[in-house]
Amino acid sequence: MPSADPSALIRNLQQADSPVGLLQATRALAAACHPEAAGHLVEVLGFNNPGAAVAAVEGLVALGTAAVEPLLTNIDGYNYGARAWAVRALSGIGDPRGLEVLLEALAEDIGPSVRRAAARGLGQLRLEGLPQEQRAAIWQRSLAGLLAGAADPEWVVRYAVVVGLEQLLPHTLPAEQRARGLAQLEGLAAPASEDTLVVRLRARLALDNLSG
């Protein structure tokens, strides 16, 4: 339930002078679930305090669509730690306005943690309100991004691509595209083409889930 006035909580956050203080103030502001908190929670993502960042992401995801604008306008081009948390929040919210940021992040960001969060997000965009045509177009672009991401040099990004594909493939896609997605998962499950065991395990699980 939104609290009446978050300004006291925001002041506490701004005056926090220790890692634990910042964590507690962030948790309290996130729990208030107030739209005015969004910009301040986005700021916390850049403070290099992982505990507080987790709490801030949870708060932003809980705010949902109200947090999308502050996230998109404050993406930090210089701090990939902060970018990873912001992309993670966008992924959790699943608002289609995040599509371009997610595609670009997976394809180009230098931070593996950013690419990883983007791959996850491309599988879970929430498109219920959109016309069928638009949904199909977004799914196809997401699939193309994930297929390209399967060649990422970092195992954790390929792992996230598997998770993204598993979530994307049950949607209505042209048969040929669905087949490409499944073939990519088979490749990520096979030792001949994937050298990281945990990625192969996750890809096998995804294939099991998709055929079950």
Binding site: W155, V156, R204
Partner: protein, 295 residues
């Protein structure tokens, strides 16, 4: 284990892409140490299989000068990077040169050599590592008078003994005292090695306690140490730890891969194929589910 903020990023900022031939040429010349430094790192990172790679890296291990802290990239730094690269290449031919580096005056090189020998699972390193650690907390584990470093790079030595994995009672006895070291990173490394060698849950429980340490650096180290040991009961504590998701994911990868039974040598074709592309069991699936939530 000491960890940087984003463990998967390159340690050489702005390093432009180069080819294997260029990397070998850069390592061959000795006028510019910063070129050699980058080349050694690159060859390890790319797991170079070129026939010249191993001999050149071994030669770089011998590039020694008195250590000068303010000298920037110097010969000793090249040697340290060469040791790290040799660990990544996974070729046993590097072991004799690395054993020699274990006796070097530069503790930074001894540290890198020990880690590489651990990576290679070199049983011949057990005796020299134990010999250097045998003086315990008052000797190997004491703080130097001229810096904050310890007499021996104990963390790397302990981790190497755990990685090599021979649980001889003499080895365990050498490691044991270090669980009482004043520095939590050394305690973490000792618990990790003992957990790997003995599978005794009390060492896992001590590592789980370190996940709640007030210093982020200690929590990160305990995460990596639990991941290296693959200790399954750490799943939930790892999930709750206040640290970067990147590090939790690396730790959980260790748990997931540990849970999978290794493929049986000489197994019939069908079984071998199943081990190649295994269907995860319920315990592994539980680890994967936690990993999914951390992406």
């Amino acid at each position: 284990m000491v960890v940087a903020g984003d463990p998967s990023s390159s340690p050489v900022p702005g390093g432009a892409p180069i080819t294997e031939e260029e990397a070998l040429d850069r390592l061959r010349q000795t006028d510019d140490q910063s070129l050699q430094y980058y080349a050694a790192w690159w060859l390890g990172k790319m797991r170079s299989r070129h026939p010249d790679t191993l001999p050149l890296l071994c030669r770089a291990l011998g590039q020694r000068l008195p250590r000068r802290e303010a000298a920037g990239v110097e010969h000793n730094a090249v040697a340290r990077n060469a040791a790290r690269a040799l660990g990544k290449l996974g070729q046993a031919e590097a072991v004799p040169a690395l054993l020699e580096s274990l006796e070097d005056d530069d503790d930074g090189l001894r540290e890198a050599a020990a880690r590489a020998l651990g990576d290679l699972g070199a049983a011949s390193a057990i005796a020299p590592l134990c010999r250097r650690l045998a003086s315990g907390l008052a000797g190997a584990g004491a703080v130097r008078t001229d810096s904050s470093r310890l007499i021996e790079p104990c963390e790397a030595f302990l981790e190497a003994l755990g990685e090599i994995g021979q649980a001889h009672p003499d080895v365990v006895a050498v490691i044991r005292p270090f669980i009482g070291h004043e520095r939590p990173l050394i305690r973490s490394a000792a618990c990790r090695a003992l957990l790997q060698l003995t599978s005794d849950p009390r060492w896992g429980e001590q590592l789980v306690q370190l996940l709640e340490h007030p210093q982020l650096q200690v929590r990160r180290a305990a995460l990596m140490d639990l991941g290296a040991s693959g200790w399954r009961p750490a799943l939930e504590p790892i999930r709750r730890t206040l640290a970067e998701n990147s590090l939790k994911l690396i730790a959980l990868r260790g748990l997931a891969e540990q849970l999978e039974p290794p493929s049986v040598p000489g197994a019939v074709d069908g079984a071998a194929r199943a081990a190649d592309s295994p269907h995860p069991d319920p315990a592994t699936t539980a680890v994967l589910a936690v990993m999914d939530d951390l992406l």
